[in-house]
Amino acid sequence: MTNSFSTRIKQALADPQLRSNFRGAMDFLRNKRRLAFSDEDEWEALKKQGAAIRQDAIQRLPELLTQLEQQCLNNGIQVHWAEDDQDANNIVLGIAQQHQSKLVIKGKSMATEEIELNQFLEQHNIECIESDMGEYIVQLDNEKPSHIIMPAIHKNTAQITELFENKLGISTPEGDVDALIGVGRTILRKKFEQADIGISGVNFAIADTGTLCLVENEGNGRLSTTAPSIHIALMGIEKVIPNIKALPTLQKLLTRSATGQHITSYLNLISSPRKPDELDGPKAVHLILLDNGRANISQDEQLKSTLSCIRCGACMNHCPVYTRIGGHAYGSTYPGPIGQILTPQLKGLEQEGELLDACSLNGACGEACPVEIDLPELIRILRHRRQVDVHKPWSLEALVWFIWLQVHQYPRLYRLTTKFAALFRSLKLKTPTNWTNTRTLPKPAKLGLHKQMQRHSKTKSEAEK
């Protein structure tokens, strides 16, 4: 691990407030999800359906995306294609400059985090305000979200109260969540009124009707995509689904996995801008289809299931590592198991491969995944790719496994080695690893199982005579 990843991990582990916040949050979310899927048979059936729908879509991306584009265009939605983050940012900027827009209001979108849209727009003197409560909070504190569903999950009520006091000059009673929400509502309402452009993500895009589906609880998504005269929706190309019949299954899996809700307060289906006789809604709707490495993933037979992801967050909620180090430690847009798999594929194994080490392969993520992505297996595959593509053949680890192979390949050498280790069993050794900082070393047995079993079969055959 690089110093920076290792440092961030240690910092997180040493922060009792962070540990406590995440522990509480993850236990809460795990429990909610468990209740929502209490019917085992239903869970199995939904999961299979969800996996099939997503795998089929990934197999048919070119066909579905062209269909989506055509239907959107028929509906009056303008469609743009962005090869990478720069492309996407420039498309947004182009639209903003064309309309001399100064204020952008955002609904929650991890894709816009991925391309770092806010920072890009700020550099071009366009104010960019987050309207999702959690995103608003982290934006206020100049931070990035630490979870893909609940961006401010790393903060507790007291910390947010203090933040509002310091940054907004607004005091609220201790522990009063309603008051805090009220503050956000008041401030952001003005922004909804004033904003020129609303930017959102897309949970699912329906190809055969040209429809964008968005789920939310707060209403800020609807406001961001309805109040401003321009709505820009940014979507990873993998989010397309064939038709609306697939929506109920995916919606159920998404909301139950994310927050334990059977459905969110709002599910919004947008198929066109304001029609001539309509009185509200954006006058222009733009859909940006973002590649940024996804097309390449779809070509990789072993890894393409990465794209099945519906961004529910269940994997990180169940990850014992994420629970303890939190989202920021990963240093990437997507944290937790999906982040460990996606980020190296989007940004390169050389740069981001170390994320793969922060995993004990316990399998809780794969078990929770509502579209049956075998996350632990993907981590294994990526570790193998890293070893093949990135690691030097003379690295320390390669040497370790070379020696390991010699010892285990030759039974005689193996028995010799274990005998040798047993001889020194009484020595209180320290290892070059940190194992002995918190654990004693296991003592090699005087007589290993091999030897014991030799005696055992001898005893048995003698007894049977």
Partner: protein
């Protein structure tokens, strides 16, 4: 630790040929916890099996495999498959983690049409985790009377997920008389071992281990039982470091004691 002794074996003059099983002891058991291996043998014999233990066995190959170093793992896997393919008999593994490697991962290591894959699949079909295998075969009606004891079961990740044998572990314990079983808080959460994870991500591993140990101790079970030596080692050595006491015991050893097979 006293020198491991072979538990009392059930001697029989039965003329009919005993059913046979292979035992894959696992490298951890061989090197550090051979008593658990011997106890596995005793339980299998108690259940009416003859145990064959090929001496040439070493390791299942999981450590390099999980780390992304496939070639050494593939070599060892090939060897292991050959070793246990002479007879078409069950392969019993006293570790859910190693059993999982053989059962679920060996068939993916070789070319899809290769002979090795065929053999790996055939082996996978007859590979069983120990406790799961003997769960319906132990002579529960022959339990000797034992003093009551409260134990804590640590369900390993492999038992809960990959091998799905945690149910069997619970069932076996529930069939024992005078045993009460407790479970730690966050029982499905990893103990922090994860093989090389405990070394490569030692800081995170240490914290996970600490949390697991605290949760286990809070149950006030007299012994901490599990079917995976990796977890038992991780938990046991941490507890020893903290308090010089190690209440960990392999399920096989616990059962041997319970059925009165242990020499005094």
């Amino acid at each position: 630790m006293p020198t491991p002794k072979s538990p009392k074996t059930t001697q029989t003059k039965d003329a009919s040929p005993k059913k046979q099983v292979y035992l894959f002891g696992t490298c951890l058991i061989d090197m550090f916890y051979p008593q658990a291996g011997l106890d596995a043998v005793a339980l299998l014999e108690l259940s009416g099996y003859e145990v064959i233990y090929p001496q040439a066995q070493t390791c299942c190959g999981q450590p390099p495999y999980n780390s992304g170093f496939r070639p050494p793992a593939v070599k060892i896997a090939k060897q292991t498959i050959q070793l246990f393919s002479a007879k078409d008999i069950p392969l019993i593994v006293p570790s859910a983690s190693c059993a999982g490697m053989i059962k679920h991962h060996y068939p993916t290591l070789f070319g899809p049409q290769s002979l090795e894959t065929k053999q790996a699949k055939q082996l996978a079909q007859r590979t069983f985790e120990l406790i799961d295998f003997i769960a319906d075969k132990l002579p529960y009606t022959q339990q000797p009377s034992r003093p009551p004891i409260k134990v804590t079961l640590h369900e390993s990740c492999s038992a809960l997920r990959e091998m799905a044998v945690a149910n069997s572990w619970r069932q076996v314990l529930n069939k024992l008389e005078n045993i009460s079983v407790t479970y730690p808080e966050n029982r499905q959460e990893c103990c922090g071992f994860g093989g090389t994870f405990s070394v490569k991500s030692d800081a995170i591993s240490a914290v996970m281990t600490q949390d697991k140990c605290q949760n286990l101790l809070n149950t006030e079970g007299k012994q901490i039982l599990s079917g995976d030596c990796g977890c038992l080692m991780n938990i046991g050595e941490h507890l020893k470091f903290e308090s010089k006491k190690d209440p960990c015991l392999h399920l096989a050893s616990f059962l041997v004691e319970h059925f009165g097979l242990r020499h005094d």
